[in-house]
Symmetry: C2
Subunit: 152 residues, 2 copies
DNA sequence: CAGTATCCCTCAAGATACTG
DNA sequence: CAGTATCTTGAGGGATACTG
């Protein structure tokens, strides 16, 4: 019985994208990376995903050229996972998904946030607190592709 | 052992979106719907997905309010699956995915297309051949959210 | 043609123990 | 802390037979 159907050679770019990142965790890892998460443990706590799965996804994302590893900035022997330009260009995808979710998957007065501050419990609003020019993506953003990316 | 982790009550809208449509088929069904596919058999042939899976996805998309059914236009007793406004608002998501895929998942001279004409084998170019005003989404499109939708 | 039902297999994912 | 290895389960998915 054929395993599962691969779509990474389909002529449709949507199909290839979905084949690569259309699972339950990859895009959430990327989202966290946009929000400044770089370390294994931080991803793990933020996502609540099993460690082996996280390990697998990080490797696959690195292999796909979406993330890259670099030596930890604090001198520890471990690695940090950083978005590559290819990964950063997933920004419009994440934003589009976020906007759609906010508009259609939340009750009228139901609060939403991409991230909750772990200590204060406060919602961290728009998309990334790191947007260099202070642009907030919602509700005003209409030009997804032109929006600035967080610093790499 | 806990089944799988649901994210449809997460405070993050990206997580909820992914929980709903972050699988290998849902977005491709939506893509085909944007391209004018409405009937079970047409989805099935276009996607090459197993019939039971397609049936399941169509039901889930209807239940999610992304598609709706209506009587077939040709008088047969069957149904057609049509995008609702909620479904149509997934347009930016599909476009973003398509653009990212085109830019990063294809070789320099490798042809890509969302759809191949079943009879001629010709690629059907930009996004939807049905865009009423002739707008092509690529490569000029920079304002995703403002782009017109195909007629419903 | 438009689905539904059944069978079965693979793999994603969770839990947890382990190593440097 | 940052991962890797192992085990187990259930969901996702494919093939195909069946019904109206």
């Amino acid at each position: 019985m054929p395993p599962r159907k691969r779509m990474n050679h389909e002529p449709c770019p949507v199909a290839r994208s979905v084949d690569l990142i259309g699972d339950r965790w990859s895009l959430l890892v990327v989202r966290d990376a946009f929000d400044g998460t770089h370390r294994f443990g931080d991803f793990q706590r933020s996502l609540g995903v099993a460690r082996n799965i996280l390990s697998d996804r990080l490797h696959k994302l690195v292999e796909a050229g979406i993330l890259k590893t670099q030596a930890a900035s604090d001198g520890t022997a471990y690695q940090e996972y950083i978005l590559t330009p290819k990964g950063e260009s997933l920004f419009p995808v994440v934003v589009a998904l976020r906007q759609w979710g906010e508009q259609h998957l939340f009750g009228r007065s139901e609060p939403h946030s991409t991230l909750l501050d772990k200590r204060t419990g406060e919602p961290i609003p728009p998309m990334t607190p790191k947007a260099r020019d202070g642009t907030t993506l919602l509700p005003a953003a209409t030009e997804v592709r032109k929006l600035s990316l967080p610093p790499s």
